[in-house]
């Protein structure tokens, strides 16, 4: 994961203030974590990078489900902005260009997998607001020398009317990661 720039400590802070602040941050994270991990996705789409197909055996259920899918599709487009190729000389540190398109409305995070089955996760990003992105990333583990097709999953996150963070949209594309000898 990319590490943010290190911030300078403020020596004037008392231990009490530090503890209160830390507690507040942990509490906020716990709340958000609960909401995301409880699988809340707006419009009850469920979490997943895959298109799910269920059996529909009666007319009314099918029509209702399709109507809902139609509404979601109408607002479910995601702008991609990236360069196909990323380069590394050590298999871990890559020069790349991946942006949360300025045309998007939501923050997103990236998850990159080395395989199509999505079993080998090699990168997990921080949240990226629209118009921002990455020029360098460090993978969780090194790729071998050569060229690799990797699978880049994008997850957009939104805040709903209740102030809760929810997964909004997800999609996936590929990139080619090149490791020179």
């Amino acid at each position: 994961m990319e590490t943010p720039a290190e911030t300078k400590k403020t020596p004037a802070l008392s231990n009490k203030v530090v503890i209160i602040a830390a507690t507040a941050v942990i509490a906020a994270l716990a709340i958000v974590a609960f909401l995301l991990l409880s699988g809340r996705k707006e419009n009850d789409l469920g979490i997943g990078y895959a298109t799910e197909a269920k059996v529909m055996l009666d007319q009314d259920s099918l029509q209702a489900a399709f109507d809902e899918a139609l509404r979601n599709a109408a607002e479910g487009n995601i702008g991609l902005k990236y360069k196909n190729d990323a380069y590394s000389s050590n298999g871990t540190d890559f020069e790349c260009y991946i942006v949360n398109s300025e045309a998007n409305k939501y923050d997103m995070f990236l998850t990159i997998y080395a395989d199509a089955e999505l079993t080998d996760q090699i990168f997990l990003s921080q949240l990226v607001p629209p118009g921002s992105g990455f020029e360098n990333i460090t993978l969780d583990h090194a790729l071998d020398a050569g060229s690799h097709t990797v699978f880049v999953a994008l997850t957009q996150v939104d805040t709903n009317e209740d102030g809760q963070q929810v997964i909004k949209h997800q999609t996936m594309h590929t990139m080619d990661f090149h490791v020179t000898e």
């Binding site: 994270l29 799910e52 059996v55 009666d58 399709f66 995601i78 398109s101 995070f109 990003s125 949240l127």
Partner: protein, 347 residues
């Protein structure tokens, strides 16, 4: 091996942690990228659909698609009829000024049933309807097991607005078509890649990062389609389902373009000029002819021939645009070779 949900949840957790950090590698107001010798490629800019929904519709029940789902006063509907595998509308839109080839990697997965002893559905590798006639060497009998033959199809959209309602209507009117190995990709449990499943023609990017203006061919529609056994030996249940993970990739496309020459035969005032735009075009592109400097009372007739002047069979249809005044327009669809356009102006 982690399950799909766990993997995604771990991603979600990372997102949670990220919220407290939220420091991307470069800021929103700094789009400058250092271009080195390694970075010759241009950024890909496209709009893709989110992971959506599809439906196994064993009985081929009708689905009505409203012309505008957001406008209840508009009751016009298109009916999807008889399709056993149906997905929500999916469109990919080019936001860049370059033509793009679209490749896709598809991985399918059948969901496990809550009753471990129950028989889950299967993803078939050929149509469940059977192939050939009984007695033929290559005959394959219709399937009877609970199975679905699912494939991903693409087509160039005629719509150039990119509006959800227009795309949904075009999607709904997309007639069912059998699997074509040259164009489609089957959804199986092993990852498979189809290169060139669609070509996105260049769009006209918007200044300032807004949505592009789409040109003919800038938008492609995608769908999961196929067939399934309507009444299998083991009955369908509402728990039966599969997932299809679609990962798109985009590469600049090189599309052959042919020259367009234009001439005016002005038997009236003799001052007419003709412009064909563009001056070279790929097969399927729309070419606009503009004849100007003529009299308002003149009549203009158009012909499109091969570059050597010989006729196309069948003839290329030219559609009138502006038919009055001193400037006239018309359009035609470019064939797969160079053409010569002639406008004959008569008093």
């Amino acid at each position: 091996m982690k399950t799909m949900k766990n993997r995604v949840l771990s991603g979600a957790m990372a997102g949670v942690l990220a919220m407290s950090l939220a420091v991307p590698a470069f800021a929103a107001d700094d789009h400058t990228t250092v271009v080195t010798g390694k970075y010759q490629d241009t950024p890909i800019a496209v709009t893709v659909p989110e992971t959506g929904k599809a439906f196994i519709n064993p009985y081929g029940l009708n689905i009505e698609v409203p012309e505008d789902a957001e406008d209840s006063s508009n009751t016009n509907k298109t009916t999807i009829s008889g399709q056993q595998i149906v997905s929500a509308p999916m469109a990919i839109m080019n936001q860049s000024a370059m033509d793009l080839n679209v490749n896709v990697t598809v991985t399918g997965k059948v969901a496990a049933l809550s009753d471990a002893t129950a028989i889950p559905m299967k993803l078939a590798t050929v149509t469940t309807k059977g192939v050939g006639a009984e007695g033929d060497d290559d005959y394959v009998a219709p399937a009877t097991a609970k199975s679905a033959f699912v494939y991903l199809q693409a087509k160039t959209a005629t719509d150039t607005t990119g509006a959800a309602a227009a795309l949904a209507t075009e999607f709904a009117g997309w007639a069912a078509s059998d699997y074509d190995a040259d164009k489609d990709i089957i959804v199986g449990t092993k990852a498979a890649t189809k290169e060139g499943i669609a070509v996105l023609r260049a769009a006209t990017p918007a200044a300032g990062g807004g949505s592009a203006t789409y040109n003919a061919g800038s938008i492609a529609l995608f769908r999961l389609t196929g067939d399934c056994v309507a009444t299998p030996k083991t009955a369908w249940t509402e728990e039966d389902s599969f997932e299809a993970t679609l990962a798109f990739s985009f590469r600049p496309a090189t599309i052959a373009k042919n020259a367009i020459t234009a001439a005016v035969n002005d038997t009236s005032a003799g001052t007419g000029t003709i412009v064909a735009a563009p001056t070279s075009a790929a097969e399927g592109d729309t070419v606009t002819i503009t004849v100007s400097g003529i009299l308002a009372s003149d009549t203009v007739a158009y012909s499109v021939t091969k570059a050597d002047g010989s006729a196309f069979t069948p003839a290329i249809t030219v559609t009138d645009g502006t038919t009055t005044g001193t400037t006239r327009t018309a359009t035609f669809t470019m064939p797969g070779e160079a053409v010569k356009v002639t406008a004959t102006v008569t008093a």
